[in-house]
């Protein structure tokens, strides 16, 4: 039983990271119609900024803040440079553009730093454990869940309680109508990319705490793929669906890893994706049953 609770917490911690990332993808998709493949590279940029700061000997908290800010800045720049020119193109054109952006950023990091993995030393609390009622939990997992919960709560408050959030939700429902009603399009799009980048940056900090600080140019692929799958599970175009999809995916992944027989644990992702595909074939609009709003 204790082991199950530990695995559950682990699953929730991984799932909350996925939820955070999926939310960042979904916000840009609902406002802009872009499935941003280069979102993974925002995580990478956040992580490499932390690497740069740690090389300069800056304290961890500064590294983390710099990483989050760098990811947010990179997200806004991405929109300005690469995505604004293809704004009125179809979804596929935007998707491929983001694919090109991802490749270019990976290449730049390979040229400037190295293709090989580097390490950002992690603070000691990331390897500490907490004992709660006879259950031992790694501290980073608890922190991950808490940080995600705070970030999600902040998002909900912004979206539900501020004029800005109202405009944003309106734009997510129907961008053209929101524009006609006086919502400023460029500002709305930039805000979406800003929030998306902030979430990617927080994701980067949490991922490094989980993995012990390994950074490499292609590190963004695995998390962005999980975030993609999470938004497909939750129903593309739905913000709450993205969060639920992320949590479901994380818990499922940890449980599979924990309880699959040893010789097939290497195939966890394969089995996980296969399960997801089966679920989606049964419920093409996402398990939440929310209606997918696809720009075609």
């Amino acid at each position: 039983m204790n082991e199950f609770i530990q695995q559950m917490v682990n699953g929730l911690s991984l799932g909350s990271t996925y939820a955070l990332l999926a939310l960042g993808l979904a916000i840009v998709f609902t406002i802009f119609g872009l499935v941003n493949f280069a979102y993974g590279e925002l995580i990478t940029i956040g992580a490499y900024t932390m690497f740069a700061c740690s090389s300069l000997g800056l304290p961890w908290i500064v590294q983390a803040l710099a990483g989050i800010l760098a990811a947010a800045l990179a997200s806004i720049l991405m929109e300005l440079i690469a995505f604004r020119p293809v704004r009125h193109a179809d979804g596929t054109t935007m998707l491929i553009t983001s694919f090109g952006v991802a490749i270019a950023i990976q290449a730049v990091l390979t040229i400037v730093v190295s293709a090989r993995a580097r390490t950002v030393p992690q603070p000691s609390w990331t390897v500490a454990t907490l004992s709660v009622g006879g259950i031992t939990l790694p501290a980073y997992q608890v922190v991950t869940v808490l940080v995600t919960a705070i970030a999600l709560l902040a998002m909900v408050l912004i979206l539900k309680r501020t004029n800005f959030g109202l405009a944003m939700r309106g734009a997510a429902e129907n961008f053209q109508t929101a524009r006609l009603l006086g919502v400023r399009a460029n500002r709305m799009v930039a805000s979406a990319f800003l929030i998306s980048g902030l979430l990617a940056g927080i994701g980067a900090v949490l991922i490094l705490a989980r993995t012990g600080g390994a950074v490499e140019p292609t590190m963004g692929l695995a998390p962005v793929l999980k975030a993609f799958v999470a938004i497909v599970i939750g129903g593309i175009g739905s913000l709450s669906g993205a969060v639920v999809g992320g949590l479901v995916l994380g818990v499922a992944e940890v449980m599979l890893r924990a309880y699959l027989p040893g010789q097939v644990t290497g195939l966890t992702d394969g089995i996980l994706f296969a399960l997801v595909v089966i679920v989606i074939v049964a419920r093409p609009e996402g398990v939440m049953g929310l209606k997918a709003r696809l720009r075609t």
Binding site: T93, Q106, T110, L225, F228
Partner: protein
């Protein structure tokens, strides 16, 4: 005007494949001759790239669904041929514990390659079955997941694949001529598919999936077919690559190759086989230059620094620039034979219409007690109506009366909560693409043409479907003549004038609407002259084969002047039915349609004029 028949497709496919293969052969053979062994390797790799990219294009170009996962099929092909064709002596040192005695199998290269392609085809059927059930973006994400999963399986299934380390000892039998031979075959398949009836129907679904389905195109099946053919093409590229390299690793068939092939595909133009070839050549040359620069060459005495990743940066920038500058790629939809047509005279193959019966339609369309709710609101609330053989029936009603919902129920786009739609007593099929095949077709309020296809092709989509489902064929050219579109045959549907677009949509529906054609606000946005013209067109359509016609419109004078019988819908219910004369004098109609106050002050006859208040049009 191009005819989309299989014989024409095979002919033009063969011509196009040869036209494309010749320059590639000249370039690669020349390069190999000039640069010796290393030149030959690059030449073969370039030819293999054409195989991969043209293969991927069969699916991506025709269906419009992006795939990031086709390199997974190259990986499956490569590993399958490696496992089957590598001599057992070498295999036993790496994968001695493989099941099914795979380590002891000794197959010649050709049978091994064929089995490998069969494995790819089976995998593609299974995966395609899933991908076809999803919408565009979701299926793209699934293809990406496929790439990662296949890579993970090859990396982890050490007993069979040898894991992350190189699988070596694969016979290196690929020569430039044999690679060119495979390329010619793949180019032929890609070109012929694009020009074929299947290709046309799939392109129609790329332009507008809903319209294609309502015209009888089985979108899922065609996507599956194209996906499997395309996967086998990519698989052939993988097989060749394994037989060229001799030693393969899982990462040879992962992100780098995906990046390169996507850059090639989008640069040349996804929809063009010629573009595939062009993209491969341009990207290969650019990639080699940047790789050379990235290796830190000596240029006139200066040692440049080595910059690994330089060629990858080039690929990324190429993709971004092409997307911003010209997202359809260099070629767009065009092909090499479009340019050579002038001197290679193409014989027009006129498809022969089957000798169908000239008897007029005797079908009767019945709707019984149709109910449809949206979020608890009854949009259609117990409607029964009938369209008899050859009858022109009108359906009018104020905004929000449920007219378009009713039309969607009658045409199978929506399923009713209760009630039935039947033709001659037979229930309407539940699958949308089967509805058109019963001889019932429709148009859309907001015009849904296949914009990137030309006028003739728009009509051919339905004549092709019609030819497989019932015996009364119309030749596309005759249809265009009937609807006064023959002079526009070669123009893209998306650039036509508004009135022509409306007429084309009706012509397209007429080709398959043997028994019924449902028209959703055909004169919306037209002036009086245009709408009078369209009235004549609809009468011609009705006279042609006696198809029953249901017209939904706001324009009362248009409906009154055209229809023999009129239903009036208000708040989801039929409130009146009758001849035009009966309808204009029915007080319930006047109240619902013009408003109670107007009914008190005006003579019923006033509604016949052209100045009666028009309800706003509910364009969506």
């Amino acid at each position: 005007m191009t005819s989309r028949t299989w014989s024409a497709a095979l002919r033009s496919g063969a011509i196009r494949a040869l036209l494309l293969a010749i320059p590639v052969a000249v370039l690669t053979v020349g390069w190999a001759a000039a640069r010796g062994a290393s030149g030959e390797r690059l030449a073969i790799a370039t030819v293999i790239s054409v195989v991969l990219v043209a293969g991927i294009g069969i699916f991506v170009g025709n269906s419009g669904v992006e795939s990031f996962g086709h390199i997974a099929f190259a990986a499956i092909g490569a590993y399958s041929v490696a496992i089957l064709a590598t001599p057992p002596e070498i295999k036993r040192t790496r994968i001695s514990e493989a099941p099914l005695g795979l380590a002891d199998i000794r197959l010649d290269v050709l049978p091994a390659a064929l089995v490998a392609l069969a494995v790819v085809a089976i995998a593609a059927v299974v995966i395609g079955f899933v991908v076809m059930r999803m919408s565009g973006i979701s299926s793209t994400i699934v293809t990406l997941a496929l790439l990662v999963v296949v890579n993970g399986v090859i990396n982890n299934w050490t007993a069979v694949t040898g894991g992350a380390e190189a699988f070596y000892g694969v016979p290196t039998v690929v020569t430039l001529p044999s690679a060119l031979g495979v390329m010619l075959l793949v180019l032929f398949v890609a070109s012929a598919f694009k020009s074929s009836p299947w290709g046309l129907m799939l392109q129609a679904s790329r332009e507008d999936e809903l319209a294609a389905s309502t015209m009888g195109v089985n979108v899922r099946l065609l996507r599956l077919i194209a996906f499997v053919i395309s996967a086998v093409g990519a698989g052939a590229g993988g097989v060749l690559l394994a037989l060229l390299l001799g030693a393969i690793t899982p990462n040879d068939f992962f992100l780098t190759l995906t990046f390169i092939t996507i850059a090639m595909l989008v640069l040349g133009g996804k929809r063009s086989t010629t573009g595939a070839v062009l993209g491969v050549i341009v990207v290969t040359i650019g990639n080699e230059i940047f790789r050379w620069l990235g290796d830190g060459p000596m240029i006139s005495g200066f040692q440049l620094p080595a910059l690994p990743g330089f060629s990858t940066l080039f690929l990324g920038v190429v993709i971004i620039v092409v997307m911003i500058w010209r997202s359809a790629g260099i070629m767009g939809d065009r092909e090499i034979d479009d340019f050579t047509k002038r001197w290679l005279r193409k014989a027009q193959v006129r498809p022969t219409a089957l000798p169908g019966s000239t008897a007029r339609s005797t079908a009767r369309l019945n709707a019984e007690n149709l109910v449809k709710h949206f979020d608890g609101v009854a949009a259609v609330d117990g409607v029964s109506l009938e369209v008899g053989p050859g009858e022109i029936v009108g359906l009018i009603g104020p905004n929000g009366a449920g007219k378009t919902t009713l039309l969607n129920l009658l045409s199978g786009v929506l399923q009713a909560d209760s009630g039935t739609v039947s033709i001659n007593g037979e229930l309407l099929p539940r699958k949308l693409h089967r509805v058109a095949r019963t001889g019932l077709a429709r148009t859309f309020q907001n015009i849904r043409l296949f914009g990137e296809l030309d006028v003739s092709e728009n009509v051919q989509v339905t004549t092709i479907v019609a030819s497989s489902s019932h015996d009364h064929l119309m030749h596309p050219q005759d249809l265009l003549t009937t609807f006064h579109l023959e002079s526009q045959a070669g123009r893209k549907a998306g650039v036509l004038a508004y009135g022509d677009q409306r007429r084309l949509e009706i012509a397209r529906a007429a080709a398959i609407g043997r028994h019924f054609v449902l028209l959703d606000e055909p004169v919306a946005g037209m002036n009086e002259v245009e709408s009078l013209e369209l009235r004549e067109t609809i009468r011609e359509l009705n006279g042609l084969r006696g198809a029953g016609i249901l017209v939904v419109d706001h324009d009362l004078s248009f409906i009154l002047g055209l229809c023999q019988r009129i239903y009036v819908l208000d708040a989801g219910r039929i409130i009146a039915v009758g001849t035009p004369a009966e309808i204009v004098s029915n007080p319930a109609v006047i109240e619902a349609y013009i408003g109670a106050s107007a009914a008190q002050h005006e003579q019923p006859d006033a509604t016949r004029g052209t100045e009666e208040p028009q309800p706003d049009e509910d364009h969506s």
